[in-house]
Amino acid sequence: MSDWKENLHKTRYVMDVLLLFSFMLISAPQSTGIAAHEWLSLFFVVPLVIHLLLHWDWIKKSFLRLFTRIQGKERFSIIWNYLLYLLMLTVFVSGFLVSVALLPALNIDLNIQGFWSKIHHDSATLIMPMLGVHLALYWSWIVKLSKQMLKKKVQV
């Protein structure tokens, strides 16, 4: 487990697990309370950006790959990931626009619109099944890396 920083796949795995846990935490405002939900969402930007940085090569190549002869699964995966990113931004933007704790604490007053409340609620619900499909698309990688990480742990 200690060598995970030296291996790109293991670094991705550890960071993705952190990303998933933080996502699940911020997606339960009924459990954490609205104030914690909003502040934690602000800090969620960090693991999300780390996730994108660790997949930089994919980001650079993926768009152009759409215009080449690739397998249907890969094409679907690229489009799905773009949609997931767009939906994540929608959840973020709408979330900030309906903020009742974070922005008032920063002395920013907003007139909360029903439109943004609806968008935030609907997009935050929709992002979960989309994430489920995203995880399914990389399931073999997740299983392979989980086995590798657990094997290391047992040896130590």
């Binding site: 920083k5 030296e6 790109l8 670094t11 699940m24 997606s27 339960a28 405002p29 009924q30 459990s31 950006v49 780390i50 994108l52 940085l53 660790l54 930089w56 699964k73 767009l86 931004l89 929608t90 973020f92 933007v93 709408s94 626009l97 619109q113 029903g114 439109f115 943004w116 409340s117 609806k118 968008i119 609620h121 619900t125 979960m128 099944p129 989309m130 994430l131 489920g132 499909v133 995880l135 399914a136 698309l137 399931w139």
Partner: protein
């Protein structure tokens, strides 16, 4: 974290810049008729309403996570099933072609 440190400043700047531009475009949605219509009708969702009064405190904390597991887990399982079916069908088609 050597993989993360590689050109992280320019890459983070690019990610943030693209995200901010897309976010600004998303904000313009509030100028649409669709947004106006929803604002006029008013919106409130039922989360955290009267239904939660009758459930225990522990359940109130646990249920949102259960909801997440279901909303993520079921599509995950279904997607895996669909992918297996597609792989199986492809295998059958290729075997029939050869045969």
């Amino acid at each position: 974290m050597k993989y993360l440190k590689n050109s992280w400043q320019s890459r983070t700047f690019t990610v943030l810049l693209v995200s901010i531009v897309v976010s600004v475009l998303l904000v313009t949605l509030e100028q649409t008729q669709w947004a106006e219509q929803i604002n006029q009708q008013g919106y409130s969702h039922s989360g955290g309403g009267d239904g939660q009064r009758n459930i225990s405190t522990i359940l109130m904390y646990v249920l949102p996570f259960v909801k997440e597991f279901i909303l993520i887990g079921i599509p995950l399982g279904l997607a895996l099933l669909v992918m297996k079916l597609i792989t199986g069908l492809k295998f059958l088609v290729s075997r029939n072609k050869k045969g």
